[in-house]
Symmetry: C3
Subunit: 327 residues, 3 copies
């Protein structure tokens, strides 16, 4: 829950100060997380700064960072800064890749996301594996700059990682588009993340991961359903040779429904990883269900259960229950 | 000195926003610390966030962290989060153990606590040694969850460390109670912190430290006197064998008196460490005196002298002098 | 752009609270930095706390730290705390050395300082080399305490590092004075930073770096020109022997001019490093030009080009362009 501190506004009214503003908000949680039956108490409290302003020419700008990642935000790998106007919005820092910003993730469940099994990783976002939490980090080939432009029902996102030779010779970019009509939003995206060997025996060899993603979501009253699809493939090219390392294809769906103070959420997602080179053909199934109850005043109770990283029958389950606060 | 930012309140009055709130306060100090005659300039400045709110059902909740330990607060090992109501108050994070919360510490002296020689450590709080600064850390067997319940003159505290198998197989808990009548407060507490070897030759061997503590304090006008007692013992059990490693018994007293802007403080505490196994029988005496002067506006001057860790005649003295500010 | 949160003030008016205050401000930037033709996106966002108050006796006090260096500020190596009155101002923490505070630096250019080639290092500030960014760090022999006193046109600064034997046996101090008449400011300073071997074969050997610095700046309307000079020398003394290790002499000038919303800046500085012992005699030339444009509301656009660390013809160039925001 973000709050605009009125302080500066009052000052600026009386003394012609610049209109730029800083607000501080926070979130906290306390609960129990159980992984494969092993339970631990879990808690955290975090605070976030948000700065915003407007130029004389009407461009909006701002920046935000949490107190706990303020060091990264000072170095450009956490938090973000933006400027926006009729031309769209340009963000830098720990931003989403263009395809991720458009296609998004399935609904999460539970108190702390119950293991975040709902998410897929995007190559251009720095996430190279097919499953698990999104590897969002500006420093390792992930998106560093995100450009967003909206016109009517259409929103386009495009991102790039660091420029050539910046950041360990990674090169990445992602593009995405989303179109909304009625309660329906359709989104597609494409991302690429490659790294080139610049010396040694394999100089010039390039390893790359690319993915094409799509999602469709439909909101009817207080219920939203969403389906997601991603086809990710990895290959290495060296001189004239080109080696297909394999692919990971994910398909999933989620539903979230709010009935008065109660929110029900569920997702299921399946990722098929195949590789002729490694002679692999496995399917990872993940699913989760969750319930939330709005306690009012910025507090909510929630609980979730998820089966994450279940490879061909073997299973890893995670359960959580607790309260979330926002200040 | 904490301050409630009015900002959100004003917003919520006008627009029905949630009543949750964030305030920012700070403290700073500058002075000179002299340890065994070796003097150094010492300074610091810290800022603290406090979030608070109330659910629709009337439960109060909140969380706090300092900017300098925001990383730990995000991971649950610093700062804390709480929810409270008629049932009492539950806190998680870097909380006191139940016995420590009830029994407390003697009055500290000087500008930066003059070495904190006034304090005893509590086993359930993560502090395993008999003397010195309290080893308060949620990550190493110390208290993770604290429950407090008050009814009239009686306040009960109970804490637990991480659940079984969480955090390096530590298990800890602490309970305490305090009763106040007139200017007198009597408190008792019990704490236990054990660690079990889960593999290797000594699998099943358990080392544990337990302590029973008590304090009595009496306030008359602007003067408070306090006496404290703690009996801490360590033992190892393996199969049917039980080995007494020794004990540390501490006894001490302090007095703090405020005369107009001047505060005078003094403490003395003695810890007798005995171990038949190690053939040890030493007594550590610590004492300190301090003076403070309230400069007004959140500033104060203070100076202290303490003899800390003086083992059987050998002495380590510490002196400090400086100003403290609170914002 | 700092802002005073009115919150506490309002509280104190209505309820007699202490007048101490905390404000939060921020800055952010996004742009491109090009070093020797290798370009990278660069961004950051930072937030800063400032606490202030006044004692009943009229002394002003305060402290400040950024969220990203809050850890250092808690340990005394970042941020700073001060108290001031008719006697002057005493600051502790990551403060400037006395000579640096008086003599200062040339104008910087560009969006992120374009490599900070404009600056010279001050021995008493922890910066031991003749060129490059100022090695301002309270922990390594740099200034820990700064005293400032102004009387009419004269301002005197004096600093000291940690006291004897504090901080790896460094001893440092710096003194400076600045005199302003009309648009002209003349400043001189002297600094010394030495380290003594306290054991080993060379016990008693002392290495020291001293520098004498001077600057003159003249402001006419919206244009300021500044010239700077520094003679730094290093030597080692052991018993009766005294070895001259060499010297670094810097001379430079800068100009900054503001025409409506446009700011133009340029500097040039030359450092001659000579050492009979090492048989070195090299001259490092640095120069830079920059342009800024005030976008209003706390935002500005800027670009700079600098040739930094150019040793006897060899050259390292840096270019940057981007926007800066302040909240």
């Amino acid at each position: 829950m973000k709050k605009i501190l009125l302080a500066t506004t009052i000052l600026s009214m009386s003394a012609g100060f610049a209109a730029a503003d800083v607000s501080v908000s926070g979130d906290a949680r306390m609960g129990v997380v159980s992984t494969e039956g092993n339970s631990v108490f879990s808690s955290r409290v975090r605070f976030k700064f948000s700065g915003s302003g407007t130029t004389d020419g009407g461009l909006a700008f701002g920046g935000s960072a949490r107190a706990d990642n303020a060091g990264g935000a000072s170095g450009g790998t956490a938090g973000s800064v933006f400027i926006s106007g009729a031309f769209g919005k340009i963000s830098m820092g720990d931003v989403d890749s263009g395809d991720k910003a458009s296609v998004g993730q399935l609904a999460s469940v539970g108190w702390d996301g119950a293991g975040y099994g709902n998410s897929i990783s995007y190559a251009a976002d720095g996430g190279l594996l097919g499953t698990g939490n999104d590897g969002d980090y500006a420093g390792t080939g992930g998106a560093k700059v995100l450009y967003t432009y909206s016109s009517g029902a259409l929103t386009v996102n495009a991102s790039t990682g660091q420029l050539s030779n910046g950041g360990a010779n990674h090169q990445s970019y992602g593009v995405g588009a989303a179109y909304t009509t009625g309660g329906m939003t359709l989104a597609v995206g494409y991302g690429s993340n490659s790294i080139e060997a610049t010396d040694g025996e394999l100089e010039g060899a390039t390893g790359s991961i690319t993915d094409i993603s799509a999602s469709a979501s439909y909101t009817m009253g207080a219920t939203t359903i969403k389906a997601i699809y991603q086809d990710k493939s990895a290959n290495v090219s060296y001189e004239d040779a080109d080696l297909d390392l394999g692919s990971a294809v994910s398909m999933g769906a989620s539903v979230a429904s709010k009935i008065d103070a109660v929110t029900l959420t569920a997702y299921t997602i399946s990722t098929n990883v195949t590789s002729d080179v490694a002679e692999i053909d496995v399917t990872v199934n993940r699913m989760g269900v969750g319930v939330g109850y709005d306690l009012g005043g910025g507090a909510s109770f929630s609980a979730g259960w998820a089966q994450i990283g279940a490879v061909d029958g073997a299973s890893a389950s995670k359960m959580d229950v607790g309260v979330n606060f926002s200040f």
